[in-house]
Subunit: 276 residues, 2 copies
Amino acid sequence: MKTLSENKCFGGVQGVYAHASTSCNCDMTFGLFLPQEARDGPVPVLWYLSGLTCTHENAMNKAGAQAWAAEQGIALVFPDTSPRGDDVADDDDYDLGQGAGFYVNATQSPWTAHFAMWDYVADELPALLGEHFAIDLSRQAITGHSMGGHGALTLAMGLPGRFRSVSALAPICNPTETEWGRKQLAAYLGADETTWARHDATLMMRQSGFDGPMLIDTGTADQFIDLLRPEALAGAIAERRQQAIFRLQPGYDHSYFFISSFIEEHVTFHAEALWA
Amino acid sequence: MKTLSENKCFGGVQGVYAHASTSCNCDMTFGLFLPQEARDGPVPVLWYLSGLTCTHENAMNKAGAQAWAAEQGIALVFPDTSPRGDDVADDDDYDLGQGAGFYVNATQSPWTAHFAMWDYVADELPALLGEHFAIDLSRQAITGHSMGGHGALTLAMGLPGRFRSVSALAPICNPTETEWGRKQLAAYLGADETTWARHDATLMMRQSGFDGPMLIDTGTADQFIDLLRPEALAGAIAERRQQAIFRLQPGYDHSYFFISSFIEEHVTFHAEALWA
């Protein structure tokens, strides 16, 4: 593992690290914020999964989450959103290929060689964090934005017992029904839609739900709201009687200004579960 | 004036606007955060001047200041750091020309046609803000980072009575003595160093000081600290018995992670003076 940068931040350290990933078969970069408490021993961790076109950097630089993570004494990890590199398959569209991993393991050509973001976030990166940093892997929570909200919700429901709490900001809620999903799931997983179901938060909510608290915020002025389909997940949550807070925030859009406005509440929400 | 974007943010609006500048003789872009209180009437304003290579965007996206400005009910304005455009003079180095206006009015060729950042920030932009937005021009404060810290300190001392408080993060403190200053002041103002003195915070502090509270933070691990010369300004502050808080923050560097770590204290510091 290589340290690309470390900056003191809110008493802790905001680092950026690169490593050769076995799941993605390429070098991967991630951001990690460790609060000052990590000097004395392992701390809980909140995963932040980013959206389309993002790298490990966007949320790390723009969400403002470190302020609250420092206050709560928890770590933040910011994975990249896909494998990267000249020899990694890509697409001309922003919403497929590099920057658009959708948190699945691709089974279709040309994506299989590198696109295994589910394994990367579910297995490889947690193991690496536990090995190299003062992270308490028994206390994990997960959040994300847009495609990363989709990732957070599907990983949380797909890995029962792993995460104590899950939240999402403007998540893609029902990708099997919209063009932020059908296109990518078909490309990465193939035409058999039964394989898509465990990558659709609404279908997973109908199937099993999440054993813990859930918080979801979406802006009423979100310019992509038709692609997100919050109504589908809201319905599924209500039908399951899932413990959840589902909010539509008046006037907010899909931008990082929306994220930064609510990130304190998300970090605090997770901290409560992580320290319980 | 043209609205480039408006995003709801912490209950208020983060806007980006462009206008034809008469002082800089080109189109200029600025960011403006208005807290929700601005709907009911004029609010105080805190200026944030950015550093070398920055545009209006960097602090707006990365400093996290809106959270605290919203809490305090004050506006934030993020001007650009220089005139811009294909017909605007530039230099191959990052620290001269576009992105490096140094908050002076150039008197030397080829810079005179557009480089009038002092007039832009001191006169033109405040008038524009007062005309188009709910800004109370009788309650202004100013801060900035690096070259922008230099701008904040020199504008505050150069315009007595204008700003109620001044602060700076890792400011260039003594530009007439280092290569972050001598090169640019010579280029913009010419070889006669007597014209440089009113653009050097340390010299201005020796000359006149500031009639109000002053807060300055610099990281002990700042990679540019030799170019900033905090020791010169600290000495001048002490000699003048200037009301000031001058801090060296252990382990912090020159990055936005340093800025975001302390921006709450800066905004709160200004809010106290603005609401007094």
